[in-house]
Amino acid sequence: MGSFAGGELPSDDVIVPALRAGDEAMFAALLDTWSRGMLRVARSYVPTDHAAEEVVQDTWLAVIGGIDDFEGRSSVKTWIFRILVNTAKKRGVRERRTLPWSAVKDDGGTIAGQSLDLVPPGGWRDPPAAWPTPEKEVLASEVRGLIGDVLARLPPRQRTVITLRDVEGCTSDEVCEIMKISAANQRVLLHRARVAVRGWLADYFEFARQPD
């Protein structure tokens, strides 16, 4: 699972006092555990890896400056990702004024290659073709390389939700809190994103990976 699992991190009532007391090892542990996921989530708002890294950096600076005021109304993780999303949103708006940005419609419905009326009313005309399953290892690493490209094609909010849920392993409650959206909205965005990603993987298996 993603870096979000945090199995090795202690609970918030250990983390917060440690950070306040200036425990460097604790800060380093959070930095190393959560930054990867934060980079991916930030990348769903801003157009370059470099901008995403700056967003993550600014988020950690805000965490350093704000830890004394953290009230514990949410978990530390949710608090930090909430700061991240707000920082990334502001940054994303600014960047879009200056950089070319793929003009995808956000969430409104279909985008290229993302058919929501997948199955015709009468049922499957062409049932999904089987995916190759031989050397599972090879397949896994091949698909892994595709995922980044595939995520980049999603509308921004779908990309954020699927990154938080399926890449980082957040619960739906966490995603709702981080993004301030309803459970129903979260599910719709996640579902559309998954349908699109599955569809692109299916295309890949069908066309790009034909045996000679």
Binding site: A28, L39, Q57, W60, A140, R144, V167, R198
Partner: protein
């Protein structure tokens, strides 16, 4: 036993879905967010429909693939900068 009939009935109701509707419910199904008649309806449909069964299988495989991304990390200089920002924060 009569007083249980109402409840039993509710549980036994199985919704019928078309393939299109079924595909639209899979995220809710995997999140266990369907009510019992809907969940039963999904099970019943999947038992008899190869296309949807395969779709669900691929949907799951997609989620597994998403959960295994290539590693990504902060560059060393950003990490160093943040560590020293943390170190400095208590200094007047």
């Amino acid at each position: 036993m009569k007083r249980f009939i109402q409840q039993t009935r509710a549980v036994n109701v199985v919704k019928r879905f078309t393939c299109g509707e079924l595909v639209g419910l899979l995220t809710a199904y995997l999140d266990d967010a369907l009510d019992p008649p809907e969940r039963e309806g999904v099970h019943a449909h999947l038992t008899g429909c190869e296309g949807c069964g395969r779709y669900l299988e691929q949907f799951r495989a997609t989620i597994v693939a998403l959960g295994d991304p290539p590693p990504e990390k902060l560059s060393a200089d950003v990490r160093d900068r943040l560590m020293s920002a943390f170190r400095e924060r208590r200094r007047p």
